[in-house]
């Protein structure tokens, strides 16, 4: 029992249910088959960031989510409702729709 408890203390619960509910509105409004880019305000090369990317894919399946902004539509997984405008501009991302819960769809104006 103690060993099991220590295992759970060492590992992280990333909150799958939370991601499912945050992305639910977007998921319901997507076409049957879509490929989306991905942008986040998380630091790069970090376990939590990677987990959130995977969880975004898990929540939005069967849409395919790619870890790039070089797609026509890009899903944004932010942690605030005031995204970094300079970063979005640098990546040529134009807001298409705000789905609430800091989830947005952007369009890459160069694609």
């Amino acid at each position: 029992m103690i060993t099991a408890y220590s295992y759970l203390q060492e590992s992280h619960a990333f909150g799958v249910a939370n991601f499912d509910s945050r992305f639910e509105a977007l998921h319901k409004n997507m076409p049957a088959r879509s490929v989306l880019g991905y942008v986040s305000d998380n630091p790069a090369a970090n376990t939590q960031s990677q987990a959130e990317f995977y969880l975004t894919q898990y929540a939005l399946a069967p849409a395919i989510v790619k870890a790039t902004t070089e797609e026509h539509f890009v899903v944004a997984n932010f942690h605030s409702n005031s995204p970094n405008a300079a970063m979005l501009k640098a990546k040529h991302l134009v807001l298409v729709q705000d789905f609430g819960n800091d989830v947005y769809i952007y369009r890459n104006s160069t694609r």
């Binding site: 103690i2 099991a4 295992y7 759970l8 619960a13 249910a17 088959r33 894919q57 898990y58 069967p62």
Partner: protein, 481 residues
């Protein structure tokens, strides 16, 4: 409802097994073994049929239900068919009596393992990282994708290993489809069934081979391997693979005890095929098993049985292997490890640092398996087993030599193969080892424990005598003195 679908899949396996190994409808060790192996066989058949139906008829729920229903009806018909040839009834091997406290300890270990499983499931109802990044993600693609279900194997999500086989995602997707609900209970129930059926296969096989006491002690050690229970609760495919490795090698051990009846080898072929249908590591195991079995029979067994046994093994293996080949050729993208250029592999092989890193993990990690961690006190199971061996020593029955050689050689070849894969293929060996090596050891752990308890002496425990009995026993000795 989802439990009913899972029970029906299990019943499919039980029908087939009871046809292969008929026994009266009553509680016995024979029935317990069949019930335990049925989990893997039933789930393997159900997930294979699900994939074949998707591939050949598309995602039509009525066709899916019909195919599964027909398979279930056929399995049940086989179950009740008049028996042509009866197998010997499998029962406890003779041995010393089992004191009540061993039974109590086994019950406590089982209750603890179940509690740990439930506790972990409540903490992480969607499982851990690989569950939502690989296995349950694939199931979601298959269920939600509709006519685009093949997107589950898209190269665009190469990070999720879309070439991995489908036993676990297949059964989850099947039940989600039939129940019309993506219940989180399904993957949790699948993991539960596999890990506790694994314990059932272990105790029953060891009971048939070495007797009740030895099997109870082994069962306690297995159920105390916390990392195995937690990995199953994390909804990874590693516990199902451990199940199939143990079932395959256990059945081959039983084959040595009943050399005339090659049905054990047919079933071992089927479970070995389902191991390869569970994870890519199962394919390496398959190669290791074939080499090890041939060597063990030639070296320790009856050489005349080599060809008949391999024909029966191939018979059991044929269907799952055909499905795996169909999946790999028609749907799965190239494996990420095998897509490395020869130059990269050569440079990894000549890097001494990588050899040392992998060797270090191979030496250290076994001491961490199922470790009991109480504060700073460490009591690795492997050291406890060492102590157990020190007091009891090994004594291998001549009938078990080929069995033991099969298990040990299979495990050795698998470990050697994985060693080379770690050195040669992935980019960062250190990262690969830290994220996967413990789980690779878990695949082999129950079978390794089976080999240990097959070889080690059974403790000879006698009940303490009452004072009157002790006096009686002392009298003749006093007279002769």
């Amino acid at each position: 409802m989802i439990f009913l679908y899972l029970a029906l899949a299990w019943l499919m396996g039980f029908g087939l097994l009871r046809w292969l190994f008929p026994a009266p409808f009553r509680w016995s060790l024979h029935t317990a073994l069949l019930l335990s192996i049925s989990t893997g066989v039933g789930i393997g058949i159900a997930s294979s049929l699900y994939f074949l139906t998707l591939a050949l008829a598309g995602p039509k729920i009525l066709v899916l239900a019909l195919v599964q229903g027909v398979a279930l009806a056929a399995a049940l018909a086989l179950c009740f068919l008049p028996k042509r040839k009866s197998t010997p009834l499998l029962d406890w091997a003779p041995g010393p009596s089992t004191a009540w406290y061993f039974t109590a300890a086994l019950c406590v270990a089982l209750a603890s393992a179940v509690t740990i499983y439930i506790f972990c499931t409540f903490s992480k109802p969607h499982g851990d990282w690989d569950a939502w990044a690989i296995w349950n993600l694939r199931a979601r693609f298959l269920v939600r994708g509709g006519e685009f279900w093949r997107d589950a194997f898209s190269n665009q999500i190469a990070w999720s290993h879309p070439d991995y086989p489908l036993l676990v995602p297949g059964i989850i997707a099947l039940i989600w489809t039939l129940a019309q609900s993506e219940s989180i209970l399904v993957p949790a129930a699948v993991g539960f069934l596999f890990v506790f059926s694994l314990a059932g296969v272990f105790v029953a096989t060891l009971g048939i081979l070495r007797g009740k006491l030895q099997s109870f002690i082994g069962g306690i050690v297995l159920l105390c391997s916390v990392s195995l229970i937690v990995t199953a609760a994390n909804q990874y495919a590693d516990a199902p693979l451990s199940f199939f490795v143990l079932a395959t090698l256990g059945l081959l051990c039983l084959q040595e005890r009943y050399p005339e009846d090659l049905r054990f080898t047919i079933l071992a072929g089927l479970t070995a095929g389902f191991a390869a249908w569970t994870k890519n590591e199962g394919e390496l195991l398959l190669v290791a098993l074939i080499v090890a079995r041939a060597w063990a029979i030639v070296r320790y067994g009856n050489r005349a049985t080599l060809v008949p046994q391999f024909i029966k093994l191939a018979l059991g293996l044929a269907a799952p292997l055909a499905i795996i080949v169909f999946f790999k050729l028609k749907f799965a993208p190239a494996n990420d490890l095998l897509s490395h250029k020869p130059g990269q592999i050569a440079s990894h092989l000549t890097d001494l640092g990588r050899w040392i890193t992998v060797l270090e993990a191979y030496v250290v990690q076994p001491f961490r398996i199922g470790t009991f961690r109480i504060g700073s006190i460490l009591a690795p199971i492997i050291l406890l087993l060492g102590l157990y061996w020190y007091f009891l020593r090994f004594k291998v029955d001549s009938r078990d030599r080929a069995s033991l050689a099969t298990i040990l050689c299979t495990l050795a070849i698998t470990l050697a193969g994985e060693f080379l894969i770690y050195v040669a293929l992935p980019g960062d060996a250190d990262w690969q080892l830290s994220t996967s090596f413990e789980r690779l050891l878990l695949h082999l752990w129950p079978a390794g424990l089976l080999a240990f308890f097959l070889a080690v002496n059974t403790p000879q425990l006698e009940k303490p005598m009452k004072p009157k009995q002790a006096k009686k026993a002392m009298k003749p000795a006093a007279k002769s003195a």
